[in-house]
C-alpha cells in the first residue's frame, strides 16, 4: 500500500475556493475572518502527522473502520440477473452512529479542539449529522448545539432523542420550509454572533471554502477503502459506482477513490420527490440552475427572481436546494453523471434491500439502491456495481410506515 496517492491536498480548489466556476466564499463580512482562520487551521492540521494519526486511530477503534465491503447475495437474482452481474455494498451503515457523517464530524471536531474552540454549532437534516456531531463533541468534551428544522424534528424524532441523550442542545427552526436549508441559515446566524469561541461544523460538502474541500477529504476514506477492498475481494475495479447526493458528501467520499480510474462510471442519485416540478423534488441537476446559496456558487433550485424554491423528498437528508460545488464541476468535466429517483422508487429500494439482504438502508441510501435496480436492466453481463450504503434505516422506520399506510 506504500504507493497510494497522498490522502490530502491531491485535488484542492484554487486559492479562492473555486472548483472550476463553482464554489467560492459568498459570506457576510463578519464571517470572512473566521473562515480564513478555519482555512489556515485546516491546512495546518492536514499537514500534521499527529493530527492525522489521532483521526486514523479514532476511525479505527471508535468508528469501527474499515467498514466492510459486502457483496449482495440475492439482489441481482431478484432483478433477473442472477450470476451475471455483481452488486457490492460499501457498508457505511455499520459505522458507529450508523452513517458516514461520523467520518467528517470526528475530523472537524478534532480540528475545532486543535483550534482552541470550546463550542460547536451544527445543522442537521435527517439528524445523522447532528447525531455524529453530538457524539464527537461528547467524546472530545465540546459544547454542542444543533439546529434542526421543525419538519425534520417531526419525521426524524428518534435522532432528536439520540442527540439530546448525547448532551447536545437541539434547537428547533421554524423558518422557511423548516428543513435542512433553514437549519443551515440558523446555524450560520449563531456562528456570526459567536465567532470567537464557536466552531461551525458543517455536515456536507457545501457552503463556503474550505468546507467543500475539507468535508470531501474527511469522507474520502470511504473511497480509499472501497477501492482497495474491491480489488482484494473481486480482483478488479467496479464498472459503476452509485451514491445518493443531497449535499453530496457521501458521494464525494466514495467517488474520490475512483476519480483517476477513468473507466469507472460515477453516478450520483438525487431526490426526485413526487415529480420534477417546483417544490415537489430536490433534483438540482434536473430542475435547477447556477446561483449562490449559503456561501457557495453551484446548482440550486430557484425561481425567476432568484429566491430559493421549496424542496421535497421523502428523505430528509436529500431534501436540500443546493448541491456541493465539486459535483457541479465534475459534471461539467463529464467525469460524473447524475440521475434521480422518486419517493415511491426509493421506498421500493428500501423494502427490497430489507427483504432480500436483511439490511434496512437509510431512505437517503435507498435512492442509490432504487436507481441501481433500474440500471441493472441495461448493463452488460459481468458488470460490477458498487453502491455506497451511506447509512442505516432505523431512523426512517416511522416515515416508511407512514408512507406505506
Amino acid at each position: 500500500m506504500g504507493s497510494d496517492p497522498p490522502v490530502f491536498g491531491r485535488r484542492d480548489p484554487d486559492a479562492r475556493g473555486y472548483f472550476g466556476a463553482y464554489g467560492g466564499r459568498f459570506v457576510p463580512e463578519t464571517l470572512v475572518a473566521p473562515i480564513e482562520e478555519l482555512t489556515a487551521g485546516y491546512l495546518a492540521a492536514r499537514a500534521d502527522a499527529v493530527f492525522r494519526d489521532e483521526l486514523d486511530g479514532l476511525l479505527k477503534h471508535y468508528v469501527g473502520r474499515p467498514t466492510p465491503l459486502y457483496e449482495t447475495r440475492r439482489l441481482a437474482g431478484d432483478l433477473g440477473r442472477k450470476g451475471r452481474i455483481r452488486i457490492l455494498l460499501k457498508r457505511e451503515d455499520l459505522t458507529h452512529t450508523g452513517a458516514h457523517q461520523i467520518n467528517n464530524a470526528l475530523g472537524q471536531a478534532l480540528l475545532a479542539k486543535r483550534m482552541g474552540k470550546r463550542r460547536v454549532v451544527a445543522e442537521t437534516g435527517a439528524g445523522q449529522h447532528g447525531v455524529a456531531t453530538a457524539t464527537a463533541c461528547a467524546l472530545l468534551g465540546l459544547d454542542c448545539c444543533v439546529y434542526m428544522g421543525a419538519e425534520d424534528m417531526r419525521r426524524q424524532a428518534l435522532n432528536v432523542v439520540r442527540m439530546r441523550l448525547l448532551g447536545a442542545d437541539v434547537r428547533q427552526v421554524d423558518a422557511g420550509s423548516r428543513t435542512l436549508k433553514d437549519a443551515i441559515n440558523e446555524a450560520m446566524r449563531d456562528w456570526v454572533a459567536n465567532v470567537t469561541d464557536t466552531y461551525y461544523l458543517l455536515g456536507s460538502a457545501l457552503g463556503p471554502h474550505p468546507y467543500p474541500l475539507m468535508v470531501r477529504e474527511f469522507q474520502s476514506v470511504i473511497g480509499r477503502e472501497a477501492r482497495s477492498q474491491t480489488l482484494d475481494q473481486v480482483g478488479r475495479l467496479p464498472d459503476i459506482v452509485v451514491a445518493c447526493v443531497g449535499g453530496g458528501s457521501n458521494a464525494m467520499g466514495i467517488f474520490d477513490g475512483f476519480l483517476d480510474d477513468k473507466d469507472v462510471r460515477l453516478i450520483g442519485v438525487e431526490a426526485g420527490g413526487e415529480r420534477i416540478a417546483p417544490g415537489r423534488h430536490a433534483a438540482r441537476f434536473a430542475g435547477g440552475s447556477t446561483g449562490v446559496l449559503q456561501g457557495t456558487r453551484t446548482f440550486i433550485l430557484q425561481d425567476e427572481a432568484g429566491n430559493i424554491e421549496l424542496t421535497h423528498s421523502i428523505s430528509a437528508g436529500l431534501d436540500y436546494a443546493a448541491v456541493g460545488p465539486e459535483h457541479a464541476w465534475l459534471r461539467d468535466l463529464g467525469r460524473t453523471e447524475y440521475a434521480h429517483v422518486s419517493d415511491a422508487e426509493a421506498l421500493e429500494g428500501f423494502q427490497t434491500l430489507a427483504r432480500l439482504e436483511g439490511i434496512l438502508p437509510a431512505l437517503e441510501s435507498a435512492h442509490a439502491i432504487a436507481y441501481t435496480m433500474k440500471l441493472v436492466r441495461d448493463v452488460a453481463d459481468g458488470t460490477i456495481i458498487l453502491i455506497n450504503l451511506s447509512g442505516r434505516g432505523d431512523k426512517d422506520v416511522q416515515s416508511v410506515v407512514e408512507a406505506l399506510r
Binding site: Y18, A21, R25, F26, E29, V292, Q302, A305
Partner: protein, 292 residues
C-alpha cells in the same frame, strides 16, 4: 478563471440587454449624490447623519413608495432599500419577518428597481440597493447594473459578496456611476480595512457588533474604537449600523461616525403600523424623532 460576475456568465445572459437609457442623466447626478450628502453632514449643517433601511415590498411595493416618500420628508439622509431574499442569513428575526411579508406580496428585484425609477426624481436622499447576491446574479449582474443605472440608484451593497468576490461586480456598477458600499465588521483585519478603503466608494458601512441585524438597547462597546480603526486608513464617510434604535444612539454615533444606520427598529414601526392608514405618518414621526 471564470467568475460568476463576469459579463455574459449569468444564468440569464441570453436575455436581451435592457433597452432604456433614460436614466443616464440621473446617474450622472447619482455619483455625486452620496458624496454631496456626506459633505453636507460633515459640514455640520444638518446634525448627525441618518441612514434608514426598509425592506422593499413590506407590506407591499405601493406602500413602500409611500414609506420612502415619508422617509425623505422626515430628513433621512440616505435611504437603503432592501431587496427581499428567501434566505436572509445575515438578518435577525425582525428583518426575516419583513422579508417573508415582502415575498408574500410578490416583491422581486426587478419590481424594486421599477419602483425606484418611478420615485427617483421626487426624492432628495440618495438611494442604496441592499441585497443578497443571488437575486442580482439571477437577474444577471450586467443587466442589474444597467437597470440600476436607469432607475437612478446611487449605491449598491451586497451582503454576501465580500471584497474577494466583488471585483467584477464593482467594475460593472462603477462604470455606470454607481457606488459599491462595502461592509466592515469587528472581525475585519486592518489589512482588509485598508483594501476596503481603497476599493469602496460612497461610504463605508461599519457593523457595530458581531451577530445578525436587530435593535438593541445600547451601542456596542467596541463601536467607537472600530470607527477609529477605519478612520486611520480611510477618508471615506463611515455609517455605523446594527442595533441602533433611538435618538440618543444617533447622536452618540454622530460624535465619531458620519452617520448612524437604523434598520430593524424602523422595520418594526412599519410592521406595527401594518395596513393602518397612518403608516406613513408613523414612519415620518419616528424618523423625525430619531433626528431630534
Amino acid at each position: 478563471m471564470t467568475r460568476p460576475w463576469a459579463p455574459g456568465r449569468s444564468a440569464n445572459a441570453d436575455r436581451p440587454a435592457s433597452a432604456g437609457l433614460s436614466g443616464r442623466t440621473a446617474t450622472r447626478l447619482g455619483r455625486r449624490r452620496l458624496a454631496a450628502t456626506f459633505a453636507r453632514i460633515r459640514a455640520g449643517n444638518i446634525g448627525p447623519g441618518l441612514v434608514t433601511y426598509v425592506t422593499a415590498g413590506d407590506p407591499d411595493l405601493p406602500r413602500t413608495e409611500g414609506i420612502l416618500r415619508a422617509l425623505d420628508r422626515a430628513g433621512a439622509d440616505v435611504i437603503e432599500v432592501g431587496v427581499p431574499f428567501s434566505d436572509p442569513l445575515a438578518d435577525g428575526p425582525v428583518i426575516q419577518r419583513a422579508t417573508e411579508r415582502a415575498l408574500a406580496s410578490g416583491t422581486t428585484l426587478a419590481g424594486v428597481l421599477d419602483m425606484v425609477r418611478r420615485l427617483r426624481a421626487d426624492l432628495r436622499a440618495p438611494i442604496v440597493i441592499f441585497s443578497y447576491a443571488n437575486p442580482i446574479l439571477r437577474l444577471g449582474a450586467e443587466r442589474f447594473a444597467d437597470q440600476a443605472r436607469d432607475a437612478g440608484v446611487d449605491g449598491v451593497l451586497v451582503l454576501d459578496l465580500p471584497i474577494e468576490e466583488a471585483d467584477q461586480f464593482r467594475a460593472l456598477v462603477a462604470s455606470r456611476g454607481i457606488d459599491t458600499i462595502l461592509l466592515l465588521s469587528p472581525t475585519t483585519s486592518d489589512e482588509r480595512l485598508r483594501r476596503a478603503a481603497s476599493l469602496g466608494s460612497g461610504f463605508l458601512y461599519a457593523i457595530s457588533r458581531l451577530g445578525v441585524t436587530g435593535a438593541r438597547d445600547a451601542i456596542a462597546d467596541g463601536a467607537e474604537e472600530m470607527v477609529r480603526r477605519i478612520r486611520a486608513v480611510s477618508s471615506l464617510p463611515i455609517a455605523l449600523g446594527f442595533g441602533i434604535s433611538k435618538p440618543e444612539h444617533v447622536r452618540e454615533v454622530g460624535q465619531w461616525a458620519d452617520a448612524a444606520v437604523v434598520g430593524s427598529a424602523l422595520v418594526n414601526v412599519i410592521a406595527d403600523a401594518g395596513a393602518s392608514l397612518d403608516l406613513n405618518t408613523r414612519v415620518e414621526e419616528y424618523v423625525r424623532w430619531l433626528k431630534s
